[in-house]
């Protein structure tokens, strides 16, 4: 039986989710589908996840990258998520944020450990290649 495979060959596993108050899910649905079409395995949730729920989810699913879709000001909570991930020993998991994020907030997010902020208009190719790169970074923990 051909049973062994290299860990880096498995499809990236991504969590697409929303925290905070906003509930618009067009962006996260489109992204989830695009990532699937790029060969990734995408765990998808509804909006308004608690930070602790996201951490538990990321842990159980052993995801490589968490994508937070934030349309209003919900990205302000992401630094709290980063802290929670670190305390759960999940510092290797890469976090990206997609949505309307003002420049000042973007630098704050990057400072807090977010790997990348995708703005409206980011191309599919850019997102897919960044996600692939981040997933393999997460795996080489």
């Amino acid at each position: 039986m051909e049973s062994t495979s290299n860990r880096s060959q498995r499809p990236p596993k991504i969590l697409i989710t929303k925290i905070g108050l906003d509930g618009h899910d067009r962006g996260s649905r489109v992204i989830a589908t695009q990532l699937r079409d790029a060969g990734m395995e995408v765990v998808y949730t509804g909006p308004w996840q608690e930070i602790l729920a996201v951490v538990k989810l990321a842990l159980e699913e052993d995801v490589d990258v968490i994508g937070i879709s934030a349309l209003a000001t919900d990205h302000l909570l992401v630094p709290k998520l980063m802290d929670a991930l670190r305390s759960a020993d999940l510092a290797h998991v890469r976090v990206v944020v997609g949505g309307i994020v003002p420049p000042e907030d973007e630098s704050a997010l990057l400072m807090a450990g977010v790997s990348k902020v995708f703005h409206p208009g980011s191309s599919r190719d850019e997102i897919v290649s960044d996600m692939n790169r981040l997933a393999s970074e997460a795996r080489s923990r």
Binding site: G20, L21, R26, R29, T73, L77, I100, E104, G121
Partner: protein
């Protein structure tokens, strides 16, 4: 609606047409089909072959007359300019009150409040992460907040559009304030802008508070209550905007909106209300994309369909019931972060499409909305855009100025057909309520959103600065972030807590018990109980929580 090309009694027409066709093919050998966002093929040229004024009375008629294509009023913008409704909502109730007064000095008579997202989600300020408080709108949690908000504002002289999803606590607070000031409810006018729970369930989940069956009941109660006690109030605004922003094509958005309105009307009729008692107070709200002619055709077609279904399906007799009154907002979805000043051009086109589409009221987006809450300068440009269109470009001088255009009339007919095809699908699924309950609508919207994204990704749909004509830019066009001062938020929070403490707790408990029992009874009006509760000081969050407990939490149907 496309009939066989008729032989036109125009001497030389056929010959000239054949010549043009031949020459055209010579110049453009492989003329690929162009389709608009709704999937309708757009030809290079439209002539009397496609639409001809023989159809004038069937398709158009006169403004204010059936089939309403040319507008719902006799005089349209010439008689009464559209209302310019700009949204405001940042800071504390005091800030808001100051802003409101300055807007009034500038001559506005219609206001529209944006509450904080915590309010939208149905929470009081002591229930959410303080980091998010007041970052996207004003916090209004109680009758006390509303009182500050409306200090020195003549409630009976303004028209207020409340962004107030059910159970309509904001309107309840306004009614309580009016009562305190001795203003009769008959004088309170405005619109419950966010009453369309179906669109919230499908697309704007943040506003969706109570599970579907409960939402259905509360909205019907609200319509019944305002009908009787606040007759100048529009209890229903059906929001096509949410559907379109979630990805529905313009034709789909129009179809879903009309089906939703039919659903609400049928629910009222099932209650025993006569159509002509509530339909004149139905209003609509559309998103206008930059797909210029398509949007114009969408709005003209929608008007025609509404005037038909109200008569044929709802048996409405009063002409006011046939009128498709709508507010429109230029679509933020089309705006780009790249080369943001380009957004001014986009908003101008969107606004023009809305005006030519015959809107009653208009909100123009600020060009910098893609970054955060608009700066003052950008907000001014947005308002000026409307004024320029009206006073300098004279777009309001002629009623339905594109009426009779071969293209616009053909496209209006084709859009109408598309709208009806989609409406038939919803009818087959058992009506809008059932179609969203089962996820049919969500799936359709998801597919359209993805299809559009694929066109952008492939470059088939060009977006300037995004996938075409990009330039190197250094981010510049945004003002420093305006975030609420934490100290101010903290003060508001402690005032809120003090307010809660100071209330007569027994009365609060009694009001909540009454509300809960109304939710569990068959024949009590829930909104009437909401109004009473607001009056004795029950807060927004307490009211929503009570109804969520009794009727189920509103969870969107997540369609992956």
């Amino acid at each position: 609606m496309n009939q066989e090309p008729m032989q036109l009694p125009l001497p030389g027409f056929e010959n000239a047409r054949a010549t043009w066709q031949r020459d055209y093919s010579k110049h453009i050998a492989d003329d690929h089909a162009i389709r608009n966002r709704s999937g309708i093929q757009v030809n290079a040229l439209y002539t009397p072959h496609d639409w001809d004024s023989e159809r004038y009375m069937d398709d158009l008629g006169f403004p204010g007359q059936l089939p309403m294509t040319r507008g719902i009023y006799t005089t349209m913008h010439r008689g009464r300019p559209w209302s310019q409704r700009q949204l405001i909502g940042l800071g504390t109730p005091e800030d808001y009150n100051r802003r409101l007064k300055s807007i009034f000095k500038a001559g506005a008579s219609a206001i529209s409040l944006i509450p904080c997202n915590s309010v939208y989600r149905g929470y009081d300020m002591d229930e959410v992460d303080p980091l998010l408080l007041g970052t996207c709108g004003t916090i209004v949690n109680s009758v006390e907040d509303m009182d500050i908000f409306l200090r020195d504002i003549p409630i009976d002289q303004i028209s207020a559009a409340q962004n107030d999803p059910l159970p309509f606590t904001l309107l309840a607070f306004v009614l309580a304030v009016a009562k305190r000031r001795g203003i009769p409810w008959e004088k309170v006018t405005g619109t419950s802008n966010q009453s369309d729970y179906i669109s919230h369930f499908v697309a704007n989940h943040m506003f969706f508070r109570i599970a579907l069956p409960g939402s259905r009941r509360v909205l019907t109660d609200h319509i019944e209550f305002t009908n009787k006690h606040v007759p100048g109030w529009n209890p229903v605004s059906v929001v096509g905007q949410h559907m379109q922003q979630a990805g529905a094509t313009p034709a789909e958005a129009m179809a879903f909106t009309l089906c939703t309105a039919l659903q609400y009307a049928e629910d009222c009729m099932a209650r025993g209300m006569a159509p002509d008692t509530f339909l004149p107070r139905f209003t609509f709200f559309f998103d206008i994309s930059v797909s210029f002619f398509e949007e114009i055709a969408k709005l003209r077609a929608g008007r025609r369909v509404w005037s038909r279904v109200t008569r044929q399906r709802l048996a409405a007799k009063d002409p006011r019931s046939w009128r498709f009154k709508f507010h429109a907002q230029t679509s933020g979805v089309d705006l780009t972060r790249q080369q943001p000043l380009n957004n001014i051009a986009r908003v101008t086109l969107q606004a023009m499409a809305g005006l030519f589409g015959g809107l009653q009221s208009l909100h123009t987006d600020a060009f910098d909305e893609v970054f955060s809450t608009p700066t003052e300068e950008a907000a001014r440009v947005a308002v000026s855009t409307q004024n320029i269109l009206r006073h300098e470009a004279h777009l309001a001088d002629v009623i339905d100025p594109l009426g009779g255009s071969y293209y616009v009339e053909t496209l209006t007919n084709e859009m109408e057909q598309q709208v009806e095809t989609t409406m038939a699908k919803i009818d087959d699924a058992g009506g809008m309520y059932k179609a969203v309950e089962s996820g049919l609508v969500q799936t359709m919207i998801g597919e359209s959103a993805l299809a559009f994204q694929r066109q952008v990704d492939s470059g088939e749909q060009k977006i300037i600065g995004v996938n075409a004509y990009q330039v190197e830019e250094t981010p510049s066009h945004h003002a420093p972030l305006k975030r609420p001062d934490p100290a101010v938020t903290a003060t508001q929070l402690s005032r809120f807590k003090a307010f809660k403490q100071s209330r007569n707790q027994a009365r609060i408990r009694a009001a909540l018990d009454t509300l809960a029992s109304a939710a569990n009874s068959e024949n009590e009006n829930i909104f009437a109980r909401v109004v009473e509760a607001a009056d004795v000081g029950v807060t927004h969050g307490e009211i929503v929580a009570c109804l969520r407990r009794e009727m189920g939490v509103g969870q969107p149907l997540v369609v992956a």
